[in-house]
């Protein structure tokens, strides 16, 4: 294991940033810490880096307890959210900084710098200053600088947060390829679920200083452990209701819930993702409810529908363009909605 965090806690005054966090990161893994702001993800990253001292708990890197080791001796590379490039140094000087501080021979520094300039496609920019670079270029300089002294662990704080949508998309694919190429254990912090789902090997979803769920992107997306994870990873429709004897009554739907077959009644909430709802104009088989089309947004790869059920609850659905065209949907129309996939969360039985 490359990184092991054990029961790390950190308070900022009355605010609990980390609440007894346990985290293990495998050698060469690309891990995303995903969560809303204030969830503690950046604090956890900074605790691993040594930029923040935990109030309790330990951090190990490659089998060595580094809890009391200074940040400069932890062998980590860190990319700051706003890059923190040295403004008065050129790109080449920034990238060579770590080695110059170690007083490496000039020729060695120059060789390493030109190697990294090539790897990060920054040739020709060596003599520029950070102010003369675009956001994407700065971000690559920051990465190159962090990797210059071959860190054991690479830590990135919201690496794409400050970039345009298009550049962000390109850079995250590029980060994935880079990671596959150099294989250094990497943790990045993000609040963007799409980014985490696309880039990471494993996702750790955080909330209020605790880990809600850790797993592969597919696990986290397909089988969310709780309502927080469900809601955080994409848009949802929520139906309130109850479950009793293996049957759930939510909204105007009756769903089989064999895993909740205990006697007695409990409050339950059913979640549906917009793309897991089938919309049709004829009565479908299986559980369904009727609704009226309120609004249609045909821009984008899939058509977004805003519906309203008989109780007046707004429901969001997404359908394939071909489906949309064949149904000929328009506002005011009555349709039938059936969920393909349901995530049912049941509150503790109170008997």
């Amino acid at each position: 294991m490359s990184i092991i965090v054990q029961s790390a806690s950190k308070d900022f005054g009355a605010f609990k940033a980390l609440d007894a966090i346990d985290l293990t990161v495998g050698q060469g893994e690309l891990l995303a810490l995903l969560g809303p702001s204030g969830s503690g993800k950046t604090t956890l990253l900074r605790v691993i880096a040594g930029l923040e001292v935990p109030d309790a708990g330990t951090v190990q890197i490659e089998g060595v307890d580094v809890t009391d080791v200074d940040v400069r001796d932890r062998g980590i590379g860190f990319v700051f959210q706003h890059y923190a490039l040295f403004k008065h140094m050129t790109v080449a000087e920034n990238i060579g900084f770590a080695q110059r501080m170690k007083r490496a021979p000039k020729a060695e520094v120059a060789e390493r710098v030109s190697e990294l300039l090539a790897l990060f496609r920054l040739e020709g920019l060596a003599k520029r200053y950070p102010a003369q670079l675009s956001g994407g270029q700065r971000q690559r300089v920051a990465l190159a600088r962090a990797l210059a002294s071959d860190p054991r662990v690479l830590l990135l704080d919201e690496p794409f947060g400050a970039l345009d949508a298009k550049v962000r998309l390109e850079l995250r694919r590029w980060l994935r390829r880079l990671h596959d190429q150099i294989g250094v254990t990497t943790i990045f912090v993000t609040h963007d679920q799409e980014e985490a789902l696309e880039v990471a090997d494993r996702i750790v979803v955080m909330n209020a200083g605790r880990i809600e769920q850790a797993g592969s992107p597919e696990e986290v997306f397909r089988s969310p452990a709780n309502e927080f994870v469900m809601e955080f990873l994409g848009n949802v429709n929520v139906f309130h209701g109850e479950v009793s004897d293996g049957v759930a009554h939510v909204g105007s739907l009756v769903l089989d819930a064999p895993q909740h077959d205990r006697a007695g009644t409990a409050a339950a909430r059913a979640y549906f993702r917009p793309h897991d709802l089938d919309v049709s104009t004829s009565i479908p088989e299986g559980p369904h409810f009727s609704a009226r089309v309120e609004h249609v947004n045909p821009a984008g790869p899939r058509v977004k529908l805003e519906l309203e059920d008989i109780e007046g609850t707004a429901i969001f659905a997404e359908v394939e363009r071909a489906v949309f065209d064949s149904l000929g949907l328009a506002p005011g129309q009555e349709v039938y909605v059936s969920p393909r996939e349901t995530h049912l969360f049941v509150e503790d039985y109170s008997i």
Partner: protein
Amino acid sequence: MRAVADRSRTRSGSPLVRRLIIGGAVTWLLAALALPVASVFVTAFSAGWSAFADALTRSDVLHAAKLTAIAVVASIGFTAVFGLAAAWTVTRTKAPGRKLVPVLLDVPVAISPVIAGLMILLLYGRRGWFGGILDNAGITFVFALPAIVLATIFVTLPFVAKEVMAVLEEEGEDGEHAAATLGASRTQTVLYVVLPNLKWAAFYGIVLTAARAVGEFGAVSVVSGNLIGETQTLPLFIEHAYSNYETVAAFAAAVPLTVAAAFTLLARATVAALEKRRASIALDTSEGGGR
């Protein structure tokens, strides 16, 4: 022609009003700023070049210039070191009471220099709080160079601290943290990351300090005793000469002070222009990263 006139009208009312406003502003600037400065030079040279040269080489003028120079150098040295330390303490440490420092730094600006001088007399004068101790130790403090230097330091104290504090505040700690993650020691971080970042702010603070120290009158006049050829600085000499009807000598001594002020403005403009050029280079980049 008509198009131009139309455009100017839509921009800011009728051409006549615009001319009146611009004309008024220019006249006021000339009357309030340019004319007084010009009059310094005109009066200084009114009795000819040699009278000007004679006035500047008088022993009391040279002595006054020397005192002023000492006060300037001492206050630059002190406020620079103090300013960096105070700014660092306020922005980078958790020292108790650090939040009071910016407020205290406003005291020298808010308080009248004459009051500042009086406070020094009350503390260090012969019958002041520390007067006895100084007297017993055989140190002449007030009505001598130490008090002049102390008064000058007092009025210039905030300049470097405030400029540097603003930069440290704005930049945040990321640069220092980045240096640490890259293996730099604390000394290396200060030498290669922190100080290079602060050099323009510190320079600007020093320019302001020098400008204020050269011209300081109120505080110094209270504590110096104004002894001709002994504890008289240049501004004190000018006032003294002028009230004794030595007009040419007074204005001749004012020339170096005016030139010093011009240098201050020039230095300030240069720094501003350098920073603007940096910013415009930054705007000049359009390449889109990624690929």
